[in-house]
């Protein structure tokens, strides 16, 4: 009986083993070893800035298809792009301008009021569905921090004033916050340009004054002050053409609402305050 059991179990085990061995060969998924190599290099945050479903999808695409650029990984920046290029045997193309996310709203708790008391789900997306959110300005930041949750690099924090703050050193311009904000308040701007219009309101002058203490009232003072024709008022909103802006700061000086902000000055001021 013992011998019978041993034979039966042994034979069954052997049979199944052969069966599995056969099918593991037949269903083998061929994998390019370079995919794993690239995957190790990538930040593996799966932020999707490259336009693929995740780091793995991009690694597969860049190996499989020659038309997929090697420098799509935004958070990895040039360093990763060069390594990826080395693995797949291609060159990195000319460097693109480095971008960072910029919040285009300055209507914090003090500068705006609330239209009504919102008591629903605490996300911007949900609040936006209720008459565009509780804030007096229908273009302004709702402040529940959908963007903060979307940021996988810890570059966004909710400030005390109810507006998110971008840590520009940590920001890799993946664009997750741009997509997350139901008000489209984030823009990816060149990192070396320091002057920004912190408003997205397209309301008329009258409505803006009612809604917010700092919003752009489309007075066109900046337009006239600009020596290089880089700022224009379009749809009741001043907009900077970053390709032309020379950061002279003239628009900052003339803006009656102080909505055009020179980052160099604010950061310097902060440094002075600290010292």
């Amino acid at each position: 009986m013992i011998i019978q059991s041993i034979i039966v179990l042994g034979a069954l085990g052997l049979g199944f083993g052969i069966f599995l061995a056969f099918f593991s060969k037949k269903f083998e998924v061929k994998k390019d070893p370079r995919v794993d190599e690239i995957l190790k290099l990538l930040p593996n945050a799966n932020c999707g800035a490259c336009g693929y479903a995740g780091c793995k999808a991009y690694a597969e695409a860049v190996v499989a298809n020659k038309d997929v650029p090697v420098d799509l990984c935004v958070p990895g920046q040039r360093e990763v792009a060069e390594k990826v290029a080395k693995i797949v045997g291609r060159e990195v193309e000319e460097k693109k301008v480095q971008l960072v996310a910029q919040l285009k709203c300055a209507g914090d708790k003090e500068k705006t009021s609330e239209k009504f008391e919102y008591d629903g789900v605490k996300t911007c997306k949900a609040a936006n569905l209720v008459l565009g959110g509780p804030k007096s300005c229908s273009y302004g930041c709702i402040g529940f921090g959908d963007c903060v949750k979307a940021c996988k690099f810890g570059a966004l924090k909710m400030g005390d004033n109810g507006l998110p703050v971008v840590d520009k050193e940590k920001c890799v311009a993946c664009g997750a916050c741009v997509k997350a904000c139901p008000k489209n308040l984030f823009k990816l701007v060149p990192k070396d340009k320091k002057i920004h219009v912190l408003c997205s309101s397209k309301d008329s002058t009258k409505d803006v004054i009612k809604a917010c203490k700092v919003g752009c009232i489309a007075c066109k003072a900046c337009e006239k002050a600009c020596p290089v024709d880089a700022i224009h008022v379009k749809d009741n909103l001043a907009e900077i053409d970053y390709s032309k802006c020379i950061m002279c700061g003239k628009c900052v000086e003339v803006c009656p609402r102080k909505i055009i902000v020179d980052e160099r000055k604010t950061t310097e001021n902060k440094a002075k305050e600290k010292a």
Partner: protein, 192 residues
């Protein structure tokens, strides 16, 4: 024919493997968060259950019984199931990598899914014929799929509803499972 119908209804509703027999609870809670992986898991379980009930029936009745070594049934059944699960995993990895990823650890865990082993044992216990065993395997899998789909549908909606903080996630899922199980007990008495 009538007998087979009784087996089908019995395995899907009256003695549903999850909700009445309480077998295979691990994947029931693990993979029921979203409907799509739940569907994939259910189909994988149907496949494994059907094939394993066929193969275990053959092995039991044509090998173990003639040689009078039925006491080996546990180890042999597990061998059969483990092989089949490995096969399913290989197949899914090739055919549908996304589903393979979504099922994650629960796919190899079908090996230790007591519902699958339960089907094999019940086949032996009830002395089913080959056809009956086959039908029982399929309908047990369908019952499993049904419970999984119902649960995932409920859990998807539950995510949007307000649940007391202490009950969020798994705890409330257990409560829901208990309620569903009570509801399914209403089928008892339909057959014998």
């Amino acid at each position: 024919m009538e007998n087979l119908l009784a087996i089908i209804i019995g395995a899907i509703f009256v003695n549903n493997f999850i909700l009445t027999r309480f077998l295979g609870l691990c994947p029931f809670f693990g993979v029921s968060r979203r409907t799509k992986p739940a569907l994939g898991m259910g189909l994988a379980v149907i496949f494994v259950m059907t094939l394993s009930s066929i193969i275990t029936w053959i092995v039991y009745n044509l090998i173990l019984v003639p040689l009078n070594i039925q006491y080996l049934q546990i180890i042999v059944f597990i061998l059969v199931i483990a092989t089949l699960v490995q096969f399913v995993e290989l197949f899914l990895k090739k055919a549908n990598p996304v589903l393979h990823k979504a099922l994650g650890i629960y796919l190899p865990l079908i090996t230790t899914n007591c519902a699958v082993l339960g089907v094999a044992f019940l086949n032996v216990q009830e002395n089913y014929s080959f056809i009956a065993a086959l039908v029982f395997g399929i309908s047990a899998g369908v019952g499993f799929l049904l419970a999984l789909l119902l649960m995932s549908g409920i859990r998807e909606r539950m995510e949007l509803s307000k649940v007391p903080k202490a009950f969020e996630g798994l705890p409330v899922a257990f409560i829901v499972a208990a309620l569903m199980s009570m509801a399914f007990l209403a089928f008892s008495g339909m057959i014998r």
